[in-house]
Amino acid sequence: MNPVNDDGLDSGASQRAGQGLLIATLGLLGLGVVMVHSAAASVAQGGEWYARVDVRHTFFAIAAAAVLMTVWRLDFHWFFCSGKRPVKAAVLLALALGLGLLVFVPGVGHSVGGFYRWIRLGPAKYQVSFQPSELIKLALVIFLAAWLTRPQVNTRSFLKTFMPAMLLIAACMALIISQDFGTSMLIAAAAGMTLFLAGVPWPYLGGLVATAGLGFYCFVFLNPYRWSRIEAMFDPWSQNNQAAYQARMSLTAIGRGGWYGQGLGKGIVKQGFLPEDTTDFLVSAFCEEWGFRGHLLLMGMVVVWTILAWRLALKAPTAFGKVVSGSLAFMIVLQMLLHIGVNLVVLPTKGIGFPFMSAGGTSLIIMAAATAIIVSVSRSPSDGRRSLIEMN
C-alpha cells in the first residue's frame, strides 16, 4: 500500500495531518478576513464597493478556500512526474515567467508606488490584478522538485544539476529583483531549500549562500534607498525617512497593543498612521488590537501549521512529494517569519505579506494552492496512477 513510506506511518495518520493542515489554513484565512476588515476600516475608504480592500479580500479569501478544498484532491504525482522529464512543470514555469515578462509590457503591466509587480485584466471598472511573481515562486519550486527527483537525476553533479538549477534560479530572480526585492529573495531561499532537500550537496549550497550574502551586501549597500531600510531597522527613531517611519509606526502599534491589546477594531495606528496595514504590516495592526497575548495565539497557529506540514512532508510517499511539500512549507513559513520579523523591526522594512492573511488576491490563491499541494502529495498516489510511479 505505501511502498515508499520511509517513516512507516500509516496513511490514516497522514490523512489526519492533512485535514489538520487544511483546517489550520482555513483558520488563518478566516482570521485574515477579520483583520483586513479591521485594518481597512480607516482613512482611505470610499468609492466603488468593488475597489474596497476589505470587500475584495473577502472574495479572494472565499476563492482561496475553494481552491484549498478542491485542489488537494488532485493527484500531483501523476501530473508532474509522469514521463521521463517534468514537461508539465516546465510548461507551468514557462507560463509563469511569461506572465512575469508581461508586467513590463505597457498597457498590461501595472505599477503601484513605482514598482511594476502586477498585470491587470478585465474591464476598467472591475479589473483584477495578478501578481506573476507569486506564481513564479510556486512554479519554480515545483519544477525544481520534479526535475531533481526525476529517475535519471544525479543530484551530486555540479555541472549537470547544480549549475543549470542555479542559472534557472538566477533567471527567475533577475526578472523580479528590480521590482520586488523581497519576493526575489524569498524565491531564492525557497529554491535553495528545494535543492537542499532534494540532495544537492550542502557545500555547493553553502558556497552559494556565501556568494549570495556578498551579493546581497553589495546590492543593498550600493543603493541608498535599500541601505536606509537597513539603517532604519537598527534605529528607526534616529532618522526620518519612509522606511524608518514605517518601522516606528509598526513599533508604536505593537507598543500600544501591549500585553492584551486594545480590542478588536480599537486600533488607532491603522487609522492612516501605519501604511500598508492590510498587507505588509498586518501583524502590527493585529498586535495593536490583540496584544502580545493574541500574537502568541497567532504564532501558536503558525507553529501548529509548521508541525503539520513537516509531518506531511515526511510522510509523503514519493521523493517528489517530500521535496515539493518540504520546500513549499518552508517557503510559506519563512514568509510568515519574515513578515513578523519586519513588523517587529528585527528585519529591514520589506514588503512581505503574511501568507493566508494579508490582502492580495494572487498571494492568497497561490498560497492556498501550495498548501493544497502539500496535502495532496502526502497521500499515496491513487491506485490507477501508482503503476506509473512504481514504474519510475
Binding site: V4, I254, G255, G258, Q271, F273, H295, A313, G326
Partner: protein, 580 residues
C-alpha cells in the same frame, strides 16, 4: 527511484530551525512590550490624541415682558465653512472653489485667493454664518479639505431695543472695548469652554472620543434686567420722536420705579444696533443717560426747595417776594425770571411757575454750606454706583470754590452738572417717601440651568427728607402739571406730577447762545408713584426749546404707556378729564 534518497533529518533540521525562529520572534515581542511598551504607548498617545475645544454657550441677557422674559442678547450656533489648504489637492483647487462658490454665493477666484494666501494654515474660513442648507450642501460635496463647524454667534433679536444698556461684548484681546451689560458682566456671561479628547487618524480627524477625559462645557450665566420691554419701547419711541421733531443733537431718558430703584427703561437717541456696533459713531454708542453730565436747570429746583422745607428754613406756603422779574444782588449779579414778572409767590407757586428769583432767595436763606450738603446728600456730583460702565460723576464743585454767585444759582440748577441718572434718582427720593435708593439695572442672575444665583435687592443709600415733606413735595409737583409749567404732561386718566427744566448749555466762554437742554422729569400716579420718568433733549433747534415743549409731552406718552402696562387703576375723577 531517486538515487540519493530523501533524508528525513534535513526536513527535521529545517522545520526545527523555523520553529526556533518563531520562538525567537515571540521573545522579541515580549521584550519589546516589557521594555518599551510604556514609552511607545506614550508616543502613540501624543501622536494620536487631540484636544477638541467644546465651546460653551455664552449667557443671554433678558428683559422683562409681562410675566415672561424677552431675550435681548443671546448666543446661537451658526455654521461656518472652512478649508484646510494642506489637504486641498492643487490640481483640483479650481473645481473645488467653483463648487463652493456656487453654494456659498461667492466668486470662485475670491475663495481661491483666500486659500492660496495662507497655504500653510490648516483653517481658512471661507464663509461665516451660512445657512443650514448651505452647510448641508457643503457636506454633501464630501471633500476632505472642506469642513463645516459651528461657532457661537451673538445675536440681538430685538435689534436696537435697549442697545445702550445691553451694549456689546469686548473684542477679545483688545483693551477698552465693549459697552453696557455685555462689558460689566462679561465674566458672568462668558462660558467655560469644555474639552474633548479624541483619538485621531493620520489626517487629524477625530476617530474615537475618550469619554473619561472629557470636560463638559459650562454655559454662561443669564442676566435678567429690570428693563420692561413695553416701557423701554415707549421711551425709545418718545426719544426718537423728540429728536426728530425738534432737530435735537440727542435725547436721553430714564424710567425708574421710585419705590425700588429699579431702572425699568433707559435709552438714548440716536442709538445703534449692537449686532453692527462698529458702524455706529462712538457718541451714539454711549449710554448718555449715565455718561453725559449737563446742567440740570429748573428740574433741580424741587430738590433744594424740599430740602429747605425739611430743614425748616421755609415751608411750601411761605411767601417770597419775586422782585417782579428782575433781582439784582450785591456781588451776585442779576437773576431774572425769563421774561415773567412775579410779585409775592408762595414757595409752592415758585416751583409751580418755576421762578428763579424765588429759588435764589431760598438759596440765600440756606447758605452755601447747607446747599452743598443738600446737593451731595441727594447724590448729585457723585457716582451712583450703577452696574453699567462709563458712569460720570457730574460736577458739584468743592465747597471752598463756591462764592456769592453760587448761593442764588445752585438752587435753580446752575453751577452744578448732573447725569440723567443722578437727577432721576434724586427725584425719586423726593416722591417715594424720602429715601435715596441705589439704582439697579440687573434684576437677577441665573445659571445655565436657570437657577437663580443672585437676586438684586432694594438698597437705601440714605434718607434725604421725611415722609411728610415727600408727600407735600408730591402735591407741589402735581400742581406743576395741573396749573404750572408742566401742563403738557397732564394725562386724562391718571394724576401725574413733574417739573420742567430748561438749562443753557455752558460753552467755553459763558453760556452758549441759543443752546439749551430741555428736560422734564415726571411721575405718576401722585398718591403712590409707580414710575418716575426723565427725558432730556439736548440742543433742540426747532419747535421750541423749553422743557415744557420738547420733553414734557414725551414724558406724558411714556407715563401713559407705563400706566397701561403696569395696570395702574386710573385715579383721576371722571369729571376732571380734560379734552384736548
Amino acid at each position: 527511484m531517486h538515487k540519493q534518497g530523501i533524508k528525513a533529518w534535513k526536513h527535521s533540521l529545517v522545520f526545527i530551525l523555523l520553529i526556533l525562529c518563531i520562538g525567537g520572534l515571540a521573545v522579541r515581542h515580549y521584550l519589546l512590550v516589557r521594555k518599551d511598551g510604556q514609552m511607545l504607548g506614550e508616543l502613540a498617545r501624543r501622536q494620536q490624541q487631540m484636544t477638541i475645544i467644546d465651546p460653551g454657550r455664552p449667557g443671554g441677557i433678558f428683559i422683562a415682558s409681562g410675566r415672561s422674559c424677552t431675550p435681548i442678547a443671546i448666543s446661537r450656533q451658526a455654521p461656518l465653512c472652512f478649508v484646510d489648504p494642506s489637504l486641498a489637492p492643487a490640481d483640483q483647487l479650481d473645481e473645488i472653489c467653483r463648487k463652493l462658490g456656487g453654494i456659498l454665493g461667492k466668486e470662485a477666484h475670491e475663495l481661491r485667493g483666500a486659500i492660496t494666501r495662507r497655504p500653510n494654515s490648516r483653517f481658512v474660513v471661507l464663509a461665516k454664518q451660512i445657512s443650514g442648507e448651505q452647510a448641508k450642501a457643503v457636506k454633501a460635496l464630501n471633500l476632505q479639505c472642506v469642513g463645516v463647524v459651528h461657532e457661537w454667534r451673538r445675536e440681538y433679536p430685538a435689534n436696537e431695543l435697549c442697545a445702550t444698556v445691553v451694549g456689546f461684548p469686548p473684542a477679545p484681546g483688545v483693551a477698552n472695548t465693549g459697552a453696557g451689560i455685555e462689558l460689566t458682566y462679561k465674566d458672568l456671561l462668558a462660558a467655560k469652554d469644555g474639552m474633548m479628547l479624541s483619538l485621531t487618524d493620520a489626517i487629524r480627524r477625530p476617530v474615537e472620543p475618550l469619554d473619561d477625559r472629557r470636560v463638559l462645557p459650562e454655559d454662561g450665566s443669564n442676566i435678567v434686567l429690570y428693563i420692561d420691554a413695553p416701557v423701554q419701547e415707549a421711551l425709545e419711541k418718545a426719544l426718537a420722536a423728540a429728536v426728530e421733531k425738534h432737530q435735537a443733537q440727542w435725547a436721553n431718558g430714564i424710567v425708574v420705579d421710585p419705590k425700588t430703584g429699579a431702572i425699568v427703561a433707559m435709552a438714548s437717541a440716536p442709538s445703534f444696533n449692537p449686532a453692527d456696533y462698529s458702524s455706529a459713531t462712538p457718541a451714539n454708542r454711549t449710554n448718555r443717560a449715565i455718561t453725559v453730565p449737563y446742567e440740570p436747570g429748573s428740574v433741580a429746583k424741587p430738590i433744594f426747595a424740599a430740602a429747605a422745607v425739611e430743614a425748616g428754613i421755609v415751608t411750601y406756603e411761605t411767601k417770597i417776594f419775586c422782585e417782579n422779574g428782575t433781582y439784582v444782588m450785591p456781588r451776585a449779579g442779576r437773576v431774572s425770571d425769563h421774561g415773567e414778572a412775579h410779585g409775592w409767590l408762595t414757595v409752592r407757586d415758585g416751583i409751580v411757575f418755576s421762578s428763579n428769583i424765588c429759588m435764589a432767595k431760598i438759596g440765600q436763606m440756606t447758605g452755601n454750606e447747607r446747599l452743598y450738603e443738600i446737593a451731595t446728600s441727594f447724590g448729585l456730583g457723585r457716582k451712583s454706583g450703577i452696574d453699567l460702565p462709563g458712569e460720570d460723576a457730574g460736577i458739584v464743585r468743592d465747597l471752598h470754590k463756591w462764592n456769592t454767585y453760587s448761593t442764588p444759582r445752585v438752587p435753580f440748577g446752575q453751577e452744578v452738572s448732573t447725569t440723567s441718572l443722578q437727577l432721576v434718582m434724586a427725584f425719586s427720593a423726593l416722591v417715594n417717601g424720602g429715601e435715596l435708593l441705589q439704582p439697579r439695572v440687573v434684576n437677577r442672575v441665573l445659571d445655565s440651568q436657570q437657577r437663580v444665583v443672585w437676586q438684586s435687592e432694594r438698597t437705601v443709600v440714605r434718607r434725604v427728607i421725611s415722609e411728610g415733606v415727600s408727600a407735600q413735595t408730591r402735591s407741589v409737583l402735581a400742581d406743576v402739571v395741573e396749573r404750572g409749567t408742566g401742563k403738557m404732561a397732564r394725562m386724562n386718566r391718571w394724576t401725574s406730577f413733574g417739573k420742567t427744566g430748561t438749562a443753557q448749555v455752558p460753552g467755553p466762554r459763558g453760556y452758549e447762545p441759543g443752546a439749551y437742554t430741555g428736560s422734564f422729569i415726571g411721575g405718576s400716579p401722585v398718591g403712590e408713584p409707580r414710575v418716575v420718568c426723565l427725558i432730556s433733549v439736548f440742543k433742540p433747534k426747532r419747535a421750541g426749546y423749553y422743557g415744557s415743549t420738547v420733553a414734557a409731552p414725551y414724558v406724558k406718552d411714556v407715563l401713559e404707556q407705563a400706566m397701561v402696562y403696569y395696570n395702574v387703576p386710573p385715579d383721576r375723577p371722571e369729571g376732571q378729564e380734560r379734552r384736548r
